[in-house]
Point group: C2
Chain length 138, copies 2
DNA sequence: CTTGAACCTCTAGTCACTAGAGACATTACA
DNA sequence: TGTAATGTCTCTAGTGACTAGAGGTTCAAG
C-alpha cells in the first residue's frame, strides 16, 4: 500500500489530478488510513496507468469511462472498445487535416512579410484583416 | 449602423461571442441606441472580421490583443507582428507532429483488434493498459 | 516528541466560449 | 396606433480537464 504522492511519482500524474479522477468516477474511491489519507495498491496503480495512457492518446474522460466500464466485462464482445478507439483515430485525423491547412496558411502569411517594413504595410496584419488574401477556405 | 444580430450574420460570429469579445477588450465598446442596444459601423465589422479570421487560424485571444495593439501603431516596425505569426506557426507544427505520433499509435491499436473477439483478449484494452506495447514514446 | 513534508477538503481560476432566465427594445404588419 | 414576434439587454452558471491556493490535519524520520 502506498500514498497518493507515491502513486503520483510512479504514474507521473499530479496529485490533484488523481483526486480529480476519483471525483469524476474514473478511479474507485481509495481506501483510507485511520487519519483519512488515501492508500493505493497495485490495482490502483494499473488503473491509473491505463487512464494516463489513454489521456496521452487524447481520449476524453468520457471515452475513458466507457473503456473502463467495458474492461469490467471481459466476457463481452470487444467491438465497442474497437469502436471507441477508431472514432478517436478519426478525430485525430480530422484535427491533423485542419492543422495542415492552418500551417499552410500561416506559413504563407509569415513568409509574405520579412519583418523589416513598417506595420502600415505589414502583410501579416493585412492577411488577417482580409480573408480574400487567403489561398483557400479554412 | 446595424445591430449586433446583423453583425453576427455578416461575420458568422455568434451574438454572445461578440459581447464576450467586447468584454475582453478585443472590440471597442459599441455605440448604443437610446434603448441601450449596440450599434455597429463598417469599422466594427472590419475589426470583428480580423478577430474572427485570427481565431480561425488558432491565435489566442491574448495574441489577437497584441496584434490589435500593433495595428494601432502603423508607424512601428512589423517585426512584432511577424513574430506572433511565426510562433503561432511553430505551435501548429508542434501540434501536428504530436498528433501524427498519436495517429500512428491509435491506428496500430485499432488494427490490432478486428472487433470480433471478446474483451478479455482485446488488444485495444491491452494496449491502453500496458505502455510497453507501444512502438515509441508519446 | 518534535519538526517538516505530505496530505486533507474546499473554493476559485483557467480558456474561449455557450446556455438560459427574466426583462426591455425594436420592427413589421394590421 | 396597437400588438405580436423577434431581437436585444444583463447576469449567472456551465463546459473540459485540470491547476492553484487557503487553512487545517497526519505521517514518518530523527
Amino acid at each position: 500500500m502506498f500514498s497518493i504522492g507515491e502513486l503520483s511519482k510512479r504514474t507521473k500524474v499530479k496529485v490533484p489530478t488523481i483526486r480529480y479522477y476519483e471525483e469524476m468516477g474514473l478511479l474507485a474511491e481509495a481506501e483510507r488510513t485511520s487519519g483519512n489519507q488515501r492508500r493505493y495498491d497495485k490495482a490502483g496503480l494499473e488503473r491509473l496507468s491505463f487512464i494516463r495512457h489513454a489521456r496521452d492518446l487524447g481520449f476524453s474522460i468520457e471515452a475513458i469511462s466507457s473503456l473502463i466500464e467495458l474492461q469490467e466485462h471481459p466476457d463481452r464482445s470487444c467491438e465497442a472498445a474497437t469502436d471507441i478507439a477508431t472514432s478517436q483515430l478519426e478525430e485525430v485525423r480530422a484535427k491533423i487535416k485542419r492543422l495542415r491547412t492552418l500551417e499552410k496558411e500561416l506559413s504563407r502569411i509569415s513568409k509574405g512579410c520579412d519583418g523589416e517594413g513598417v506595420l502600415g504595410d505589414c502583410y501579416v496584419l493585412a492577411s488577417l484583416a482580409d480573408h480574400n488574401l487567403c489561398d483557400r477556405e479554412h
